[in-house]
Amino acid sequence: MSGVRVLVGTRKGAFILTADSKRERWDVNGPHFGGWEIYHVKGSPADPNRIYASQTSGWFGQIMQRSNDGGKSWETVGNKFVYEGEPGTHLWYDGTPRPWKFTRVWHLEPSLHDPDTVYAGVEDAALFRSQDGGQTWEELSGLRRHPTGPQWAPGAGGMCLHTIIQDPQNAQRMFVAISAAGTFRTDDGGKTWRPVNHGLRSEQIPNPTAEVGHCVHRIAMHPSRPQTLFMQKHWDVMRTDDAGENWREVSGNLPTDFGFPIDVHPHEPETIYVVPIKSDSEHYTPDGKLRVYRSRTGGNTWEALTRGLPQSNVYVNVLRDAMAVDALESAGVYFGTTGGQVYASIDAGDSWTPIVRDLPAVLSVEVQTLP
């Protein structure tokens, strides 16, 4: 019987939530790696039993974990992330040059085709790849060595590479997003990269339309339309229909266009989801209400989804990697909050129920649709 496996990373461990395709009864398994920050857990599209996890700690650094049995057991794999060559410098918060320094893995993106190939987005911003199931890691240094690299500066959360999107129709093309540098694209399998931020406007930087320096929070793509990307920026929800060459704002009637996650309906490429947050200085839901907003028109026109979500005294955030969709016929949408709740909708967002309410603060949510 088909089903879903929700992979949750939290401030104090990982949790695996499983259900059959009805998604009514959930088994909650965890914590795995209790006490550690789990920035991201993601399964291989090519082999759902292969799962990778980023386990990190301010005391003990970065650990990488791999499962070959769907998360029942785990083994540590390579955790040596070394920038290629002389790392050079980027800008620090005070505008001074600062040597690139590895801190942690924010995001793991397994290859669409090979379970042993996985990409890692790290802080300070760089892209690494393993082709041996995580045992060894090499930097795709063309990104960090882009001529604008020395101008990149961290966002409040650190200078992280947090989004990696593979083009399912073009193996040579990939997109990444960095806070606060912007979106970059490769068309040669990661050797060279260029910024694709034209159309973004950020009032928080000296030149609001600069080539780089934009605090992109997340981007999302529907696999059937790889030319179209949706973006939640520090402020503004954006879209492009030419693979990043030109972006336009689609914030429309959102109560606020600040937020972190954005995702696309699994079967409707023009249906997208965001969770508006009050402001860049007040990282919680506006008006004390937990509302997901859905657009069925690819942006501009949005509706609040509230059924089953608390509508008073809610002051949580939903972080950039903490929303995901499954691929079942009646689309499932999932998100986790900094208050430790994980909510699921099995009707594309029309109604929601909590799977679990009291986990540690949720950092990431991913979903595997199991055969």
């Binding site: 550690w36 700690s57 005391w59 003990f60 650094g61 650990i63 540590t76 955790n79 040596k80 070394v82």
Partner: protein, 98 residues
Amino acid sequence: MIRVVLPMHLRRLAQVSGEVQLDVAPPATQRAVLDALEASYPTLRGTVRDQVTHQRRAFIRFFACQQDLSNDPPDAPLPEAVATGAEPFLVVGAMAGG
């Protein structure tokens, strides 16, 4: 035989309980002990000191014989009581955070 006490998270990571015992050729130094620790438990590489620079991680401390050895040179001899196994070498996660 040198006795090493690891913090709970590293014991769990290395899948050991209680003290770790290591054969270390003299002279016993921080570097020699950490080299032997990482050789016996490769999963601990990078958790106590940087894998490239070998600098102690900022929130890790080394104690022994009621002394803080954290800032001693890595090639300085450890106290005789540690070298003989009479006293353990303590790897400690600094008190910080929640």
